[in-house]
Symmetry: C2
Subunit: 413 residues, 2 copies
């Protein structure tokens, strides 16, 4: 465990505007941590619609199962999140806990259990006793306030070294609407597994099926394009809530995914998702550098993304960047192991603007000095041109340092 704040933490935080129809409260439930908040309730006005995407793990946590079951109704009144215990791999007890939480939250708000959403993050395999926090929910709902977004981000942290928030304002037709988001990252605490959670809310009046389309599409180039260590949590959850409150200011409800007013909203949403996803990467365990990997010239966009992820997940590429070495040989290796169409003799590789390899050979023109200087930066861009087609993709990761091993392996020694 590290108390140090990531060197890649944001230098300052944005002022988070209110989202009409969303109220927030946090509490110290003492689930695992002491002296910090570990319980978040986000209360939504009636009529709030919701969309979600979840971990692809075949062994998802109980809260993921709970949310997935509720999602088809598309309505949300409350979100409950705890940190300190993931309620994952907890069998029948896990389902009992999500049922009890659902019931208590519904009763606190006065809604149906199908309008409750929940997420848990922290230790895996330990039963989560709902009695530790269900009694607090009525009070939380009572004292929830609109202006608590940074507090919300703090309450869901586990090994994150900084809270993650983002905001954007866009026009929906003639009416300004806001989108706020929070996230927590992929960290690890003894002997726990942490998780990527993110919750985004807007006052725009958008129907749930439209929200779901925007979200499912939006994660492709954002949350599904970042990787810290190739390990996938059982609990990853991203929810998008739309209160519709902006309709009181004249915004007309959108229930057609082809509505032209969506264009600006979509750009704004994707900006939030990318911002939060990058904050997660920049707070990866032990991270000292952000790495952007772009693959061009692949047979297809899908193929490009597979190759990019093969590079971004390669321990050898990530340790080389940690060592400030522009080791393009390891990039070739990672292209080769991706299993996608590639021709060794057509590859070109850049670190930043320095082309190190061209048409399958070391580029005799490249400047060792300029490249060495470039590798000292905080943000490293690797580009590979496959030379076969027009498929393109970009993904982000962080370097692999001794600190990663210390955080994830040293806690018992």
């Amino acid at each position: 465990m590290s108390d140090k704040i990531s060197p890649l933490a944001p230098k300052k935080y944005p002022r988070m505007p209110l989202i009409a129809g969303v109220r927030i409260a946090t509490a110290e439930a003492g689930i695992k941590y002491r002296g910090r908040t570990d319980l978040l309730a986000m209360v939504f006005d009636e009529g709030t619609e919701v969309a979600g995407v979840f971990t692809r793990s075949k062994c998802p946590s109980a809260p993921v199962d709970f949310c997935r079951a509720n999602l088809p109704s598309g309505k949300a009144r409350i979100l409950v999140v705890n940190s300190g215990n993931a309620n994952a791999f907890t069998g029948k007890k896990g389902r009992e806990t999500t049922a009890a939480t659902g019931k208590a939250a519904a009763s606190a708000v006065g809604c149906s259990v199908s309008e409750v959403y929940q997420a848990s993050t922290g230790v895996i395999g330990e039963p989560l006793d709902p009695a530790k926090f269900t009694g607090l929910l009525a009070d939380l709902v009572e004292r929830a306030e609109e202006n608590r977004w940074l507090d919300a981000a703090k309450a869901i942290m586990t090994t994150d070294t900084y809270p993650k928030v983002a905001t954007v304002t866009v026009k929906l037709g003639d009416v300004e609407v806001a989108i706020n988001g929070i996230a927590k990252g992929a960290g690890m605490i003894a002997p726990d597994m942490a998780t990527m959670l993110s919750f985004v809310a807007t006052d725009a009046p958008i129907a749930a099926p439209v929200l779901q389309q925007l979200l499912s599409k939006g994660v492709g180039g954002t949350f599904n394009a970042v990787t810290v260590d190739s390990d996938t949590s059982t609990s990853d959850t991203l929810l998008l809530f739309a209160t519709g409150a902006a309709s009181r200011r004249g915004a007309k409800r959108i229930d057609d995914p082809r509505d032209p007013r969506l264009a600006a909203f979509k750009r704004g949403l994707n900006k939030i998702l990318k911002n939060l996803a990058l904050q997660v990467v920049r707070d990866g365990e032990g991270a000292r550098k952000q790495i952007e990997v772009t693959v061009t010239g692949a047979r297809s966009a899908k193929s490009a993304k597979r190759i990019a992820l093969s590079i971004a997940n390669s321990p050898l590429v990530k340790t080389a960047v940690a060592g400030e070495d522009a080791n393009w040989g390891r990039v070739v290796m990672a292209v080769g192991k991706a299993g996608e169409p590639a021709d060794r003799d057509l590859l070109s590789i850049w670190f930043g603007d320095n082309r190190l390899a061209h048409q399958g050979e070391r580029d005799s023109e490249y400047s060792e000095e300029a490249t060495s200087a470039y590798m000292k930066r905080d943000e490293i861009r690797i580009r590979v041109d496959i030379g076969l087609g027009r498929g393109k993709a970009t993904v982000w990761t962080c370097d692999l340092t001794k600190e990663y091993v210390a955080i994830n392996g040293d806690y018992r020694s």
Copy 2:
């Protein structure tokens, strides 16, 4: 770079018998290293047959291309291996080097270029000048001797901390035949990428197509069941040579893969392959513990192997073992991310004989004390029962330590 010998190195080396029909010589060509051998020639009597398997990389090295092209003839008279330069990602120059090496080796032995095999390991992306060693080949062939197996293993090392040899004697019908093998492991040297190379020879008279079947099948549970860091070299090469010299002692040639005399040979060969593959794992960069992962109860053997590799390649599982923590939550995570059929509520997980989880929950019976004691061992066995079918697989890996990051990232700092 580490000068320390792996704590998992063998305590003693076997006495390697002669393989009639194989002669070996090594030299100091000074390709990259100083004061050590870096060139190996293995000379085979006429009539020697050969089989091979190679990296699945889509960007293989020039020597891999060379060997693949020669393999259909099934005949071998000489193997040339150099360490210090992998001749990978070297474009046209790489092909010129393999052509020059092939020609010089063929001329030294007096054979066709199609009977030459070669492998290179070391730095990637640097042209390999064949003039550094082709002039030495005639002399090497001249002074090659039968009793030089350990020297052969030493000449092909890169970041290996110990040479890897194995031997076994089996009956082919009534006649004793021997199988010897050497290997080098997956290490990394500034700014190089090393590789898995292995060469096995026997005096058994077995036809090339039969050898190929045995070898292709044999790697499944051995060389293709080990992983150090999930990264695949451009140069992995495994060759099996059969001189047939045992026919002078009455062994009849085998050219039918169903020949019942093959059973013992096959067991012996697989034993050699497994022994060498495990030596590679035990010399993985920074390794302090060997990890055996067995998955039972999967839908199929293929599914079991995918799940087992997902566990064995998980940085979080590997750092937990380095930290001597029986972190079964991370094992659940790795099962979930494998993408194979699994039901969270049917999983059982053991570390050694300690069952930590059963039917999707923590096993309330397990002894924390016994498990902690178990985790201090050099060799850790993880078993997962999926509870769905009869598919089974075992793979091997090593733990992930700070030393791995140091070896692969610190060399420039």
